[in-house]
Structure formats: C-alpha cells, structure tokens
C-alpha cells in the first residue's frame, strides 16, 4: 500500500490532504522559506499520531509537526518530501485545576484561547508571543516561545510542567509532572524548544499564572532610538523589572498607525511601551520610577493608558507590528537575536549601520527589556539578488550580536533559518552532545530533519536523514 492510502486507513479521507494545492499551502510558515510537503495529515488523538509515526517509519518518510504555521524560522517548513502533521485539530482544554493553577491542553489550542478559557478563574498562560491570537501551545512548546511578558515571567519552558509525547516507533510517554521538582532526568526541559526534532508533543500540562490585580501601561516617546534604549537599561538598573518593556522605532510606528489608528506618536524616533503589574501600591510606585527614568533619559512625552481599552489597543499595536510591515514592501525578513541589555545601545546603532551598508530599509520593534532584538528588513523577493542581500545583512547582525555576548535566537527558534549559524555559538563537542541527544530520541532521523543542528554536528556523522529500509545495501 502507498503512504497516502496507509494514512487514509488511519485518519479517513477527509483528514489526509494530498492535493497539490494543499501541499503548496502547507509549504510555508510566516517566515521566508518555502518547501513543499508530500502529504498533510490532521490527527485528532494521540493514538492517531502514534499510528501516523508508525506509518511514516514504514514508508521511510520523515515527519514535520506543525501548529498554526506562525513561526518565523522555518521550523514547520518541509525540507524533503515530508509528511506534515498539523496538530491544529487537537485543541481540547481538559482538566483545568484552578487551585493548583494547571491545565492539560492539546497542542492545537490557540495561545490566546487558553487564557480566555481560564479567565473565569483569574488565570492566564503567561507566554504571549506577538502571534498569540493565532499561534498554538504546541508551537510555543516546540519553539520555547517568549513574548513581551517573558521579561518578568520567563519563556514557555517555565510554564510547562509536563508533556505527553509520541516518540520514534509510535511509543507514547509522559515526561515531567505536576510536582514542583519531578525526579529523574529533566526530559521535559529537553523537549521544550526541540522544534519537533525529537518527537511529537500531543498533550501539555501548563502552569497558569494569576492575573495581576492592577496593571499600568506607559507609552514613552523619544527623539532618538539610542535614548529609548538607554531608558531601558536605566529602568532595570533603577530596580524595576517591568512586566514588559517594548521598543518600536518610527518606521514601525508609522506602519502600525496607518492600519490601527491607535493615536501613536508617529513623530517620535522611538516609542517605549512599559507595563508594570501587581498590587496597586507597588504598581503605582514602579510606574513613577519608569516615568522618572524615561524623562531623565530624554523622553519627549510619557503617557499612561487611561483604561483597559486603551491598554489593549497599545498591545494590539505592538503585536500586529510585523503584519503591518506588509504595507511597505512585498516581503520582509524578521530577525531575532539577543544581546546583553547593557549593550543594547551600541547593538542598535550597529544594526542600523549594517542595514545602511547593504542598502536595506530596516525597522525595529523588539523586547527591549531582555535585549531581544527584532531587526526587520523589507525587500521585494521578485528582485534578483535582494533576498541574498538581506540574508547577508542578517548573518552579519547575528555575528555582531553574538560577538557582544548575545545569542543566536531570542525566541523564534533555530529551525532552518539559523541552523548553519549554530557554529557561531557552539564548538564541535557542544554540537556533538546535542546531536547525540537527537540520535538517542530519533535514531532513524524521522522527526523534522535538517532543523536546528547543522550537517556534521555529530562527530562521525553519516548524514543519514531517513531510516534505511530493511535489506538495503549501504
């Protein structure tokens, strides 16, 4: 039997998509890479996922798990003629435990839907990527996603207590647990952020965070990006760790304002969005400190969101920024690197200089609080050589950030995009250690091949990507 008919036997005709149009539409995520899938499947249960894994193994076909396809590093983009496993229909929220503040959720649950669902208990899921209205918990787990509020709350790994995962051979295991310090090796920690290269997560026990009794959001406008970046270090040096601290430069603000009409100060060179949350007295005091530091760093204006509606619109402005860029050019390349906060000012200046050097329009909107830069370059892919220029500039920015003590990726993952830059961060033994973990989980190279680890990571690498069929000569 063929791969497709075996999959149909498991899932039925409706949830196996093998038309050219379907493979094409699953060939991309929100980033810049395109591949083409062989077949797309939409499982609804752990058992079905396990069966899909077995079928794929039997046919020596690799598997790419996919959430909402809002990733930017090509993690969900097929490289070979893979089977794409879309987890979107596994979207049940079960066992919400308000007392222990946990919930078991399917990987296809949309991030924001989870927080909406638990709102009645005064709880939410803290990681809030800008794509949170669309991205899934499974995708968040795969990429160890961050978001503006990870400054105070930490990234996804801090909010996942356990995962159920389908491993090679279709084996189903649950790692981690509700206890604060589960015994044994922390496989949960290894699986979170593994981008589907070790197995397929089919269920997640998430930690829920109480909604803060009081929240204040300040909008500070600056005449220069450097002043805004300086204010960021200043605020944290003054002893305040805001819930979120976000910076947006003028080009970005203009694009967003053109769509949202939120009343953003488009004449400012940069705006800083600072949010503090907690008890009313503390929030009030922290907001006062932020106002003071911003002003002494040269802010031309500081305003406080008057009510929840105004606060929501400020966040909508921030979180829709990338999409808004589409108004300015047909394509964009959004970057994700990190530098120590203290070196933010110089890193920003150098990033703009690299943009100028390659004659690219660069915009910035990023998680300033944790030094997570998102330089964004617009281009037109139909112009020959333009994408290569962007990639060259992007690589140079990564190198610059790493040389300042930063890391390759803040939150978007490595995927296909930064795989070949891993050498900037890790030496051969460090890459080999990671490759050995991959091999232990996935000896046949079945799960999301060609992602994260560059070719040759494993010492004595044979470059195997698909299992060798029985009886074949090697």
């Amino acid at each position: 039997m063929s791969l497709v008919s075996d999959l149909i036997a498991v899932l039925g005709r409706d949830r196996v998509l093998d038309d050219r149009l379907d493979s094409w539409t699953y060939g991309k995520d929100a980033g810049v890479f395109r591949g083409e899938a062989d077949v797309v499947v939409l499982p609804e249960s752990t058992e079905e996922v396990a069966e899909i894994v077995r079928v794929a193994e039997r046919h020596s076909t690799s598997i790419v798990p996919r959430g909402a396809g809002t990733g930017l590093a090509g993690g969900a983009v097929p490289v070979d003629r893979n089977v794409i496993v879309s987890m979107i229909r596994m979207n049940e929220i079960t066992d919400v435990d308000p007392e222990n503040r946990t919930a078991w959720v399917g990987p296809g649950v949309v991030n924001l839907d989870l927080s909406r669902h638990t709102e009645v208990h005064g709880l939410h899921f803290a990681p809030d990527p800008s794509s949170q209205s669309a991205c899934t918990i499974g995708g968040n787990v795969g990429n160890n996603s961050g978001g503006p509020h990870c400054l105070a709350e930490g990234t996804t790994v801090n909010h996942v207590l356990a995962v159920e995962v389908v491993l090679a051979g279709g084996e189903v295991v649950t790692v981690g647990g509700g206890a604060p310090d589960p015994i044994g090796l922390d496989l949960r920690g290894i699986l979170v952020g593994s981008e589907g290269t070790l197995g397929i997560v089919t269920k997640v026990l998430v930690k829920l965070t109480p909604n803060a009794p009081d929240v204040r959001t300040l909008l500070c406008a600056f005449d220069s990006v450097e002043d805004a970046a300086r204010a960021v270090s200043g605020i944290i040096a003054a002893g305040v760790v805001p819930a979120a601290l976000e910076l947006m430069d003028q080009r970005m603000t203009e694009a967003v304002e053109n769509w949202l009409k939120a009343g953003l100060p488009t004449d400012a060179a940069a705006i800083l969005l600072a949010e503090v949350s907690g008890g009313t007295a503390a929030v009030k005091a922290e907001a006062a400190v932020i106002r003071e530091v911003a002003t002494s760093s040269g802010a031309s204006s500081v305003s406080l969101a008057a009510d929840e509606a105004e606060r929501q619109i400020l966040w909508k402005a921030r979180k829709s920024a990338f999409g808004a860029v589409a108004q300015t050019a047909p394509d964009y390349y959004l970057h994700d690197t990190t530098v120590p906060r203290t070196r933010l000012v110089e890193a920003m200046t150098e990033a703009y200089a690299i943009g100028d050097k390659y004659d690219l329009v660069m915009m910035n909107v990023f998680h300033a609080g944790d030094g997570n830069l998102h330089p964004l370059m617009t281009f037109d892919a139909s112009q020959p050589g333009s994408f290569e220029r962007v990639r060259a500039a992007a690589d140079e920015i990564v190198e610059m950030c790493v040389s300042k003590g930063g890391v390759l990726s803040g939150e978007h993952g490595i995927g296909k995009e930064k795989r070949d830059l891993m050498g900037l961060m890790f030496d051969a033994p460090a890459l080999d250690a990671q490759a050995r973990i991959k091999e232990a989980f996935d000896p046949g190279g079945l799960f999301n091949p060609h992602k994260i680890l560059p070719q040759g990571s494993r010492c004595f690498d044979f470059g195997r990507t698909v299992p060798v069929p029985d009886g074949a000569w090697i």
């Binding site: 998509l17 038309d19 050219r20 149009l21 379907d22 094409w24 539409t25 699953y26 991309k28 995520d29 929100a30 797309v40 939409l42 909402a68 396809g69 809002t70 879309s86 979107i88 229909r89 296809g108 949309v110 924001l112 839907d113 909406r116 794509s131 209205s133 669309a134 991205c135 967003v256 053109n258 769509w259 949202l260 829709s320 920024a321 990338f322 999409g323 808004a324 860029v325 589409a326 108004q327 047909p330 394509d331 964009y332």
Partner: protein, 414 residues
C-alpha cells in the same frame, strides 16, 4: 492557464499578504476544519500560485475558493491591509470564466436576472406567503427550508418603491433609500422604521423607482458583467439625492464599493442606516428615548462589522432606545448565512448557525438585534421562535413611537 479576466486578483493585492497568520483564528471555515486552504492565508497563497503558474484554476482551487463565506473577518484584522474581499471576488470571477457549469449558470440567472426583477420577486413572495399560510414549509427541500423558516410573515404590505416620505418641517436633506431585492417585500417593517426614523430626524426620504438590486450577491459569486450593469442602473437612479442609505448591511457594504464597479461610483455618500441613525442620535437630531426596555443581544453582521468596520453604531442606537446591549461573540464569527452560502454549503452554514444561536440564547436576552436580512433569517431559523429578532433601527423606532404616544397621551391628559 493562469488568470483570464480583468477582475482576477492582482499581484499588488496578493503580495500584501506576508503569511503572518493573524487572520486564521478569525476565519470561520479555518476554525471548523483547521485546513490551510480553508483559511485566508492558504486561499491567498493559492491565488498567488495561480498567478505564478504553479497551480491552475482546477477543481481543488474551485473548492478552496467556493468554501469561503466572504465574511471578510480576515480583512478587518489584517495589519497588512490585504484587500481579501476584493481578491476573493476576483477569484470567483475567474471560476465563473474558467469553470462553467450548469449550477453556475443557474446561479448567474438567479442573482443577475431574478433578484433584480421586481415582478419575479413579487411572484416568489406570493408563493412563499401561500406556503407560509398553509404551513407547508416542512415539505421544502433541506437547503431552502432553513432560510424559509427564517422569514418574517409575508404579505399585505404596500411597496415603498417609487414613494417618498416627508418630514414635518422643511427637510434638512434628501436621502435615497435602497429598496433592496427582498428587503422591500420580505422586511417591509425595517423600511418603515428606517424611513420613520430618518423623517423624524428631518430628512426627506425617497425610494427611487428606477433603482434595482445592489448586485452584492452577483459580485460575490463572480458574475462581473451583470454586477456592473446593476451598479450603473443604481448610480443613475440615485443621481439626485444627498445621501444613499441602505438598511441591509450586506447591500451597504457593496454600495460603498461601487467605485470599483462603475466609473466614479455614486455621486452622493453611502451610509448604512445604523451608521447614520447613530450619528443623528449623537448630534442630537434624534432623541435618547427615556425608559428601560431590558436587554438585547447584539449580532454583528459581517458586512457591517468586518467590511464596513461599524461596531459601535448598533450598540449606541440600542442604548438610545433604552436597551442594554449584550455582547455574544468576541470574535464576531459569521453566522453562516453569508448570502447564498447557506444554500450552497448547508452543512457548514448549519454548524455556524447553531453556534451563533446558542451564543444568542446564552446571553439570556429576550430579543436579538441584527442589521442584515440574511443574518436575521439565519438567526430566526436557528432560534426556532425562542426569542425575537429585529433590526436595531426597528427597535429604536418602536421605542421612539411608544414614547411619543406616551407623551401625547400625557399631554392630552393635562
């Protein structure tokens, strides 16, 4: 073969999409299926692929495009300002040109020739009223039964077409009201209310004889030639008014798009009745009616909220009428009526209709307000008589009339 018509989605329209995916949770068909090709991003990708010669206008393309409700919820949340509704109408025009079928020809005939024909609509209305009176609705075939069950009781009304209504004092301006293909004969009380409210605000309201169907349904289904003809007829019929007003949100959305279909579009500005009435209340031309009338669930028609971005108007009208508006759906997902969609994709339509009805009932309100005839029929059909359905302007007009009666009887007693 790539695209063959001048209406085809253009590179410019399509390249505005950067595949960020923020539209996905707002798309009803993506929510139901989880399939990329059933979501805006996938549909746009497929349209681009045809433009690039990667895909053709084949059966799969037809399925993906035809499954779209054209609710335009994606458009309202798109930070990249992708004109999705436009692109989809272009894709439908291509289907019309490249994949002719009997079903398409029948639809073209109904949407392009029957709907704009007042005599045929009159006949159909008479037939429907007979079926209503004899209670034979249950004998109708499934896909038609549901909209039929959603109809108001028919018959015994004088048409507004060719008539006008004058305010008590010198008019502050002239409004041309779109009679609509079925609004006039099926939703007469909504026209009565709209005309009553607008004359109370001081306008002269005319319902020009020469007008015809707005053409929205023909445009959505890709019948471009007839869409243009209808637009042209209406432009001429409404040449002498200060404002063009429609009390059917789907029609208003399309009228506002006329500059695409006919050179220059309307001379006068186009306003939805809810938009204009809310403004007249705001500026004090219409009163805030005293008294409390309880709660009302607000259903946002897609072509009011997403296509025209009108959200506060129906709520402020209802508040001014003494009601407490209740929210039923933060995502404002389509109710599944979507023009002729309920007949073409009954299963999806039923699923969305049932979902919307349960949200409405969950609010506990004794009445739900909807500013579009299609949504109203879908709601009434799925609510099965449990609670009342009315246009927001209708509820305001009732409240205003009651309070005037009160005032006049009280002043009579004095």
């Amino acid at each position: 073969m790539a695209y063959v018509t001048s209406e085809a989605p253009t590179r410019r329209e399509l390249s505005a999409c950067v595949q960020c995916g923020l539209c996905l949770p707002h798309c009803p068909t993506f929510r139901l299926t989880g399939r990329e090709s059933a979501g805006p991003r996938g549909r746009l990708m497929a349209m681009s692929a045809v433009l690039d010669g990667v895909l053709t206008v084949d059966e799969a393309f037809d399925d993906a495009m035809s499954y779209c409700l054209q609710c335009r919820a994606c458009e309202a949340v798109c930070p990249g300002l992708v004109p999705f509704g436009r692109a989809m109408e272009g894709a439908r025009a291509e289907l019309d040109a490249q994949r002719p079928s009997t079903r398409r020809s029948v639809r073209k005939l109904i949407l392009g020739s029957v709907l704009p024909n007042r005599r045929l609509i009159g006949l159909a209305t008479f037939g429907a009223s007979v079926v209503q009176r004899l209670r034979l609705g249950r004998l109708l075939p499934g896909p038609i039964r549901s909209p039929f069950n959603g109809m108001r009781s028919l018959g015994g009304r004088q048409s507004w077409v060719g008539r006008e209504a004058l305010p008590a004092q010198d008019p502050i301006g002239t409004i041309g009201l779109l009679a609509g293909c079925v609004m006039d004969s099926w939703f007469g009380p909504v026209h009565d209310a709209t005309i009553g409210v607008l004359t109370a605000a001081g306008y002269r309201v005319t319902v020009p004889e020469q007008q015809t169907c707005c053409g929205a349904l023909a445009a959505h289904d890709g019948h471009t030639a007839v869409t243009r003809e209808l637009a042209e007829t209406n432009r001429n019929a409404f040449a002498d008014v200060d404002l063009v007003v429609s009390d059917a949100a789907g029609c208003t959305a399309h009228l506002k798009d006329y500059d695409h279909w006919v050179d220059g579009g309307f001379q006068a500005e186009v306003r939805d009745a809810t938009e204009l009435v809310a403004e007249l209340i705001d500026t004090g031309r219409l009163p805030i009616v005293p008294g409390e009338r309880g709660t009302v669930a607000v259903q946002d028609p897609c072509h009011l909220r997403h296509a025209q971005r009108i959200t506060t108007a129906p709520r402020s009208i209802l508040s001014a009428a003494g009601y407490t508006p209740l929210e039923i759906d933060p995502d404002a997902l389509c109710c599944g009526a979507a023009g002729i969609y309920s007949v073409l994709h009954p299963d999806t339509s039923q699923e969305l209709g049932a979902r919307k009805a349960s949200q409405v009932l969950g609010s506990g309100a004794p009445v739900v307000a909807s500013a579009n005839p299609g949504c109203e029929m879908q709601l009434r059909s799925h609510l099965d008589g449990k609670i009342a359905v009315a246009h927001p302007v209708e509820l305001y007009w009732r409240a205003l009339s009651e309070s005037r009666l009160d005032t006049s009887s009280r002043s009579g007693a004095l």
